[in-house]
Subunit: 402 residues, 2 copies
Amino acid sequence: MSLIVQKFGGSSVANAERVFNVARIVTSTYDEGNDVVVVVSAQGDTTDDLIAKGNEINPNASKRERDMLLSAGEQISISLLAMAIEKLGYPVVSLLGWQAGFQTSSAHTSARIKRVVPNRIRKELDKKCIVVVAGFQGISKYDDITTLGRGGSDTSAVAIAAAMHADLCQIYTDVEGVYTADPRKVKNARKLKDISYDEMLELATLGAQVLNNRSVEMAKKYNIELEVLSSLVKAPGTIVKEKSKMEKMLISGVAKDTDVARISVIGVPDEPGFAFKIFSKLSSKNINVDIILQSIGHNGKKDISFTVAKDRAADAEKCVQDYVENVNAKDFIVNTEVAKISIVGAGMESHAGVATKMFEALYDAQINIQMIATSEIKVSVLIDKKDADRAVSAIHEKFFEQ
Amino acid sequence: MSLIVQKFGGSSVANAERVFNVARIVTSTYDEGNDVVVVVSAQGDTTDDLIAKGNEINPNASKRERDMLLSAGEQISISLLAMAIEKLGYPVVSLLGWQAGFQTSSAHTSARIKRVVPNRIRKELDKKCIVVVAGFQGISKYDDITTLGRGGSDTSAVAIAAAMHADLCQIYTDVEGVYTADPRKVKNARKLKDISYDEMLELATLGAQVLNNRSVEMAKKYNIELEVLSSLVKAPGTIVKEKSKMEKMLISGVAKDTDVARISVIGVPDEPGFAFKIFSKLSSKNINVDIILQSIGHNGKKDISFTVAKDRAADAEKCVQDYVENVNAKDFIVNTEVAKISIVGAGMESHAGVATKMFEALYDAQINIQMIATSEIKVSVLIDKKDADRAVSAIHEKFFEQ
């Protein structure tokens, strides 16, 4: 007998039919003799509906009250799923975040899980109940309801799996696993049998959007085996674990991220401290900077370019505006029509020429590269947004189809 | 400085505009230097929507899961009201039933409040916060969410008022107070300045639907002064307290109840025990019987008539069917086209002729009386449903307009 944690996202429980689909997956796992803990997100658009209701009343409401509002979403979905499981004739109990023992920091709307005390879950499992747990939410030391931020349900599932030493944590989603590229865009994209935590982390960060990043970090930390699979198609998914068996494969995937904006500051004085100033200004506003490129100084001036998430571009622009006036830089350019294309693979570090092969693919497709960034297991390039899909296909073909 | 508990029903917070209306009432009470605890129900149709969602999946879901589902309704309304109060610039915190200290029995969907431990409420009031509390819900000793059943938010408000020794408990509703008759039906209906708990209890039981019955019982027990008033019209309401100042007035109101069915069993053997049998059968099915009428025996047979709530008529019919077959009674008749009209008044017991005056009014209006029941402070008659509004007007005219 194994303990299996299964997580279902909002689209998997969007309506009554889908709720029953999930109930059947859960009960068939239970029928195989397993203890089952199910983590669910709020139904389809519930979270968005609740956000709209709140914004109508007060778009600047406190984060505490926003958490109170949003967490009602999972309360609805866990009770509906439990009702469906009851209908199928199985013993079940639904638990809110605080009932399931999710103790978090008190950083409302983006709380971090401090610990999971799964006494109640264990008690219910001992009674042979299927346990349905509200993802995304917990309780602070002040007894206030907190939420973990978008995508937090993945983290909830992994946290339970870690706290209870689960044998497997299955993340059900609307794709069948992790692919070498987006299967909706690249027709020859291949599903990976397994992938390492680090590769998965790079892919998640780079916009593959299969798994929430924090959940992969936590899985890596506690060595929880994850399986990413489809709630609609019955087929083995992709296993995420410490060591991928595919190390000999140079790269494990191609990812595209269009949620990115490039900002270039032209004519910055080529003296110490000027680059520091702008990035400290951005970080004081909690704006994360991704790729940074600095030109070689010329005539006492240099150019600095960097990328930020698209929804922070306006805030970043303000910072840069002030900066440009303060340091007497020449000008600045904001470009949101860009895309970041990345290749990821643990095998990369021991193989020369991976980046070259990528650049060659882009050259063959006549796609211009604006910026380049590399790490031990990834290479990213910034290109025109209009070329993004073509770039992914060209790179995928070069690495996987030749 | 006083401690005031204010309760707002679902229609008072049905949309953003109404939520702000409530927020203004609350904050103006706060501005007068009072500590304010606000109890709210779920928004307008939210409860019905959630019930429909649950029924779509499993109409026979466990009561525990139904409570989990339904209690999300107040969670949404308390956070929205708190957000509106924040928008007006006041310090506020919303609390769920369990956070506010509502400890209840574990009878899901109709739990009884065992005690309120208002430590958290007190702490927030000490911080000068307005406290918004979810009505209708609490927590069982098993740490499960419970609900108090429909109308339970009134009870929540009175329970807080009792536990915290509040100076006043205001029940805001969509009428301006307690009237001598339904003001939508009887044009000369008068608003009462005050009314005693006992009179209010009889009126509530009799379908006046202004205040939930359990809440009045609790207010009487703990001697909490209630005020019933409108959330939309700024005007003094009706005070409900131990002694009404209007004792000299014979009756305080006329009430109509159409949620009633009459069942008559014809030709029951006129021997001891036969009446007992049918009522013990009904009570074993938890069916409450209201008015009972038994004819004088004739040729060894008698007829027994009684009324039950309309939604229990079908269950009662089954009991009676069995009974008729068992005791060889002649037949039975179920009539749901009836109405119960009642007059209520503490002055009644010391004044003869009140019932006569009521019967005279009905006679003048040529309305036939099917059954009669009396208590110390009320007289009820059962009549044809089609005559109900006419009967209320005729009686009201007789007592209040001559």
